[in-house]
């Protein structure tokens, strides 16, 4: 699909750390999904669901897990055998990547950069972007068009703040962080105290601290803390339309899938996975490496390593048993009716 460069299969194999089986001299000019690939395309097989396309795919070469070595399914094919086919394919994508959102180097004349803002070496600022007083932007960082960096905020080095993203005042962003379009970092936490007549606003005077190597998707909200900080740990990746409430703390290398909501003051460990649309109550703890299934509603602590699902969320194995029980409810009602009939018969006999 992308035709910017041409490489041989063997060259790509070397770059991605795979071993070639078949003709390594075949020219690769692009990448495509297995069911859509044609001549010149490299594709991959990581999910066995797609094995059915191995026979028909028009791809010139296929990255497969090492286990497929010698498989008759791949006879006559140029194959790149990799320890992890998906990691290898990710590396191949980088070879053909046309690069990030384009921007002109330097500060666009239509951008608004406060006199007291401090910009590191090589910072680029796109059209109509706004950088407020006292903000600090690390070397190599790109602030795209229409993005807003609030007063006294600190953005690290080599970050990408995508078009129309908003970082409110006094937040802190680490190095190599990507914040996608439409995302709001440091908006007020949702805090009100009922005084008997009205909901009085609880001032949100805390901040948000985002660690190094974090990626935050589009239209995400990460609220500033009431006091202290809402924290996103190093290497954590957050998908689109996620809500992170005030004073939440997320550990390192966790994954938060689209449309998840995490309520206030909850602590989430390292290596946790929160699947799409899951909701997490406030003031609870999700232990390291826990996995919360899609759409789950978590209302209490989850121990490290536990898998939970359902509403209210339970250990996944239990949740599955209960769902199986529900599926069998109609048969249960029938069995009970039959039991009652037998009892009536016995009563009549007696």
């Amino acid at each position: 699909m992308e035709r910017s460069r041409s490489r041989t299969a063997a060259e790509i194999a070397e770059i991605v750390g795979a071993r070639v089986a078949g003709d390594g001299s075949v020219a690769i000019t692009g990448l495509a999904p297995i069911d859509d690939a044609g001549a010149g395309d490299l594709t991959f097989l990581a999910n066995p669901r797609y094995e059915k396309y191995l026979n028909s795919t028009g791809a010139s070469a296929i990255i497969v897990p090492i286990q497929y070595d010698g498989s008759p399914l791949l006879e006559g094919r140029t194959v790149l055998l990799a320890d992890d086919a998906y990691v290898a394919f990710a590396a191949a994508l980088a070879v053909f990547d046309a690069g990030p959102e384009s921007i002109m180097p330097g500060i666009d004349p239509s951008a608004s950069v406060a006199d007291t803002a401090v910009l590191g070496e090589g910072v680029s600022v796109g059209p109509c972007a706004v950088i407020m007083t006292g903000a600090s932007i690390g070397a190599g960082t790109v602030v795209h068009a229409g993005a807003y960096i609030g007063a006294n905020s600190v953005v690290g080095e080599d970050c990408t703040i995508f078009p129309n993203a908003t970082l409110k005042r006094s937040v802190t962003i680490g190095d190599r962080v990507a914040i996608h379009s439409g995302t709001i970092i440091g908006s007020d936490g949702f805090g009100f105290a009922w005084d008997g007549e009205q909901h009085r606003k609880v001032p949100q005077i805390g901040t948000v601290v985002v660690g190094d190597d974090v990626e935050i998707g589009a239209n995400v909200c990460i609220d500033r803390a009431t006091i202290g900080a809402t924290r996103i740990g190093r290497g954590t990746k957050i998908d689109n339309l996620v809500q992170i409430a005030h004073n939440v703390e997320i550990g390192q290398s966790s994954i938060v899938v689209a449309q998840v909501g995490v309520s206030g003051s909850t602590r989430i460990g390292n290596g946790v996975v929160l699947a799409g649309q899951a909701g997490i109550a406030g003031h609870i703890e999700i232990g390291d490496r826990a996995v919360v299934a899609a759409q789950a509603g978590v209302m209490g602590d989850v121990p490290p390593g536990e898998n939970v699902s359902g509403y209210p969320a339970l250990k996944h194995s239990l949740s599955k048993r209960l769902h199986a029980g529900i599926r069998n409810l109609p048969s249960l009602f029938k069995r009970i009716k039959e039991i009652e009939r037998r009892l009536d018969d016995l009563d009549k006999e007696a």
Copy 2:
């Protein structure tokens, strides 16, 4: 409510293709909901829920389905009888529509349009809008204030890109497409490969292709494909705050209601309805004309024409039976207790 013009009921009937019963000369100066309409207002009845307001409404005329012809409920009223009251009302709305978001013709001096961008005839670009290098905007399209069109993106003719919408680089938008405010088209898909130490980003080098006559609501996210394209078919309508992940394909004339999430690589057919807050797993297929109920969690393929609901989503008729079973659980426990008592009695007798 809107008082821009005055028409007789008979004139409107002709425009919307309805037949007048009663006094067609009555002046209509605006439109209002049935429970809020006063003199001069035209209203409509499509949902029988609102029949109770027929007696009390102050409306000067009412659009009703043809079945109401001669109904005593409408005695003395000016009535517009239509095959489809809602379609007729939609046409009447167009008569009184004050028009779209206003904009000055031409390119606002505060907009930033790259030298290499190509703008068709009659294109308008609002204040502080940004059009990057190599982008192409079709004739008659309006790019409102603060919107961003990324490098090399192609937008068709007669489109409306509303204020503060964001189209990233190299996406393709058909003709007569509306993209509402805050929506992000072509942000990176959520792809990471664990390399044993960290989540490594999988470059997202694909694109997004949106067909003709699509409307996309506010604060929606449609991610670019890893490779290939995320596709939205002709005539499909997407509501607010929807998440469409990378490599998803949606067919023609489908309806995606607010806050739905569709996971990566899933294929959705033509004429499908995904109701509000439904979640669809990745790598599955939803057949043509299938209907997914609100909040459903769909974890496997759905055949064409099927209605599904619940979590995990099941055929709607089964889902309803299971919910009825759950509602009867307390009585079930009572029946079992009674059965055990009877058995104990029998045992004692024996």
Copy 3:
């Protein structure tokens, strides 16, 4: 954490309406959560969950509910006894609040303000903000960077429109309203009528009316009505990523938590609480002071004062009983098996 000012505990007690027990002369220089507070910090205890930190917290003073007066847990501590510890803490936060998102007074030269827009006294308009023709902005209101105020919209006095928020044409906002970043007010309602061949757009010619003292979080969508108005009542507070569809009416002092979705034409009373991720069907009524639990799916009217939860949402007490029943399903299946065995034995005996 925030070190802008120093006050004695007794001074703060007077400001927040609390009574000091212990040494009132201790200097307070900031505020912190109970498990993170150090010397100079004031903290608070409102949720008994955090009582375990009373012993170890490094805070110099603690706001507690009046019931803790004389508690041995607080021996030797400087304590501020308050009728409502959270309300008192909110007042203390205001003492140390560094103030709102910063902005320069007046109209930034990069802002685009239409000649026919009317700005009240003391209005500030940030960089690259856009105010369209005929819009009216009340005295003391701040329109932050990148925000958009559509043609003929009316914004009241002392409002804050945060960076990159979007108010479409002809909407009406009361006084002292806060609209956070990324939020879209007055986008088209999702209305289409199937004409046998395609979904035809139903023009959305109504508006949005937001009452005084409303706060609307980040990335929220409140759609304009088809006809008439979508209404948000005085003092209602809306969290992030919420969807309010066309013609919805919400009463006064209600609370709508993050990621809630309310479908078209539904009416929500005063003092209602809709907890996170709840979904509300269209054309129904939620009575005053009703509480809808997190992730609930409400498909019919809810009477005033009722608590509902689950999908489909039921009275919370019933919903809890049904969930308990589901938890007991495995034991139920065992009991039925045992019953059938006993019946078989009886049959054999007979």
